[in-house]
Symmetry: C2
Subunit: 229 residues, 2 copies
């Protein structure tokens, strides 16, 4: 799959005509990233806007006390860094590779002029930001409302929906998440997360062999139902 093909399938450029798309495409640079590599760093000046091409990227927010928070996991077609590129402020979070992959990046300068040239892109960005805002608000609410077991069930469900492939007996997660990753998504510690997931494994809600997790979506949902009573 080439640059053009990816951009065509990216929501923020979905309204562009093929000729416009190839103009836009020429402004993007392709670049590889590796596991754990920092693609953007929280607090840095917003020189680049990126679009994920291959692989997965976690958006991490660091806290002074050293406990990280994974705000979201991005995959092909997702846009990264647009908030900062737009208002000129520092990146609000760090983008870190979860494995090898590639991104397309465009300089802030080029992106701003592109926006002026194609106003329809601005409308798509509003939609994109709206979705992200909804997501962030949900993270905040979930951290507050339920306890760790429920939050882990929620996060596993979210991952299953975004990245899962159905197999018999459940849904496979295509990426490997360590217990630490999951702890950072639900706002807990690695030990507590291990304990909860071990319990899920004993109950057959989760299976994992060599890092690939298989989830029993139905039963995860029913855990959440019970909580919501």
């Amino acid at each position: 799959m080439d640059k053009l093909q990816l951009l065509k399938n990216t929501t923020i450029f979905s309204s562009l005509t093929p000729p416009d798309l190839s103009v836009v495409s020429s402004l993007f640079i392709e670049e590889g990233f590796e596991k754990e590599e920092f693609i953007l760093t929280e607090g840095d000046p917003p020189n680049w806007l990126c679009i994920v091409k291959e692989g997965n990227i976690k958006m991490v927010k660091h806290s002074p006390s050293g406990r990280d928070m994974i705000m979201a996991v991005m995959s092909a077609g997702d846009v990264i860094g647009e908030v900062a590129v737009f208002d000129g402020g520092p990146y609000p979070a760090t983008a870190q590779g979860m494995g090898n992959g590639t991104i397309l990046k465009i300089s802030r300068r080029d992106f701003i002029s592109l926006l002026k040239k194609y106003p329809s892109v601005a409308l798509e960005i509003i939609g994109d930001l709206g979705r992200k805002l909804r997501g962030a608000m949900n993270v905040a609410r979930e951290l507050r409302g339920e306890r760790v077991e429920g939050r882990i069930a929620m996060v596993l469900l979210k991952l299953a929906r975004k990245l899962g492939t159905p197999v018999d007996g459940g849904v496979d997660l295509s990426i490997h998440f360590t217990r630490q990753d999951i702890a950072d998504m639900v706002g807990s510690t690695i030990e507590t997360t291990i304990r909860v997931i071990s319990r899920f494994k004993k109950e057959g809600i989760v299976r994992d062999s060599k890092g690939k997790m298989t989830l029993d979506v139905k039963r995860l949902e029913s855990i959440l139902k019970e909580i919501e009573i």
Copy 2:
């Protein structure tokens, strides 16, 4: 202060010329609200976009277990409901009056056509959404990182910056927040919040007489510094 005057000072319309502004102004309806009144309700279809004219409004996200989370406090010039109006999905949070006040509201239909007519407004909305996204991500991180005492110090500081008026000996909060409100902002319970604030009062960091709080900003900041070591 009339409608026109307020809209002129609203960020999302800051780029419009006076004649355009009066066209826009005519599309807005003025409406009063009372303490605790629901101005928008989470989950409802997005028929209106609102701008706060007078008074203050809290954005509340309900959780299944009944524990509310106050995501933000809005005051004059702030925009409410734009995410939903834009993508057509349900409102992501409830907007509730914190006292008497007034809003300006515009129908979804009118707002969408206004956006098409004045593309510069779209750019301002991107900025607005970006700020909100930054805010929501910070809420999520704070909930995770620190414990209640630090989170309350943080929230009080944020309120002091947004709504405070300097007086000798500190900063006065112009609105009355109950302990429950503050608990809902930091993700805690009313009892714990009362205990922490009582401690702050004993230490002279917070004073309150008939509901008006006076904050010692310096010392609140130093509490956070200590935590961040």
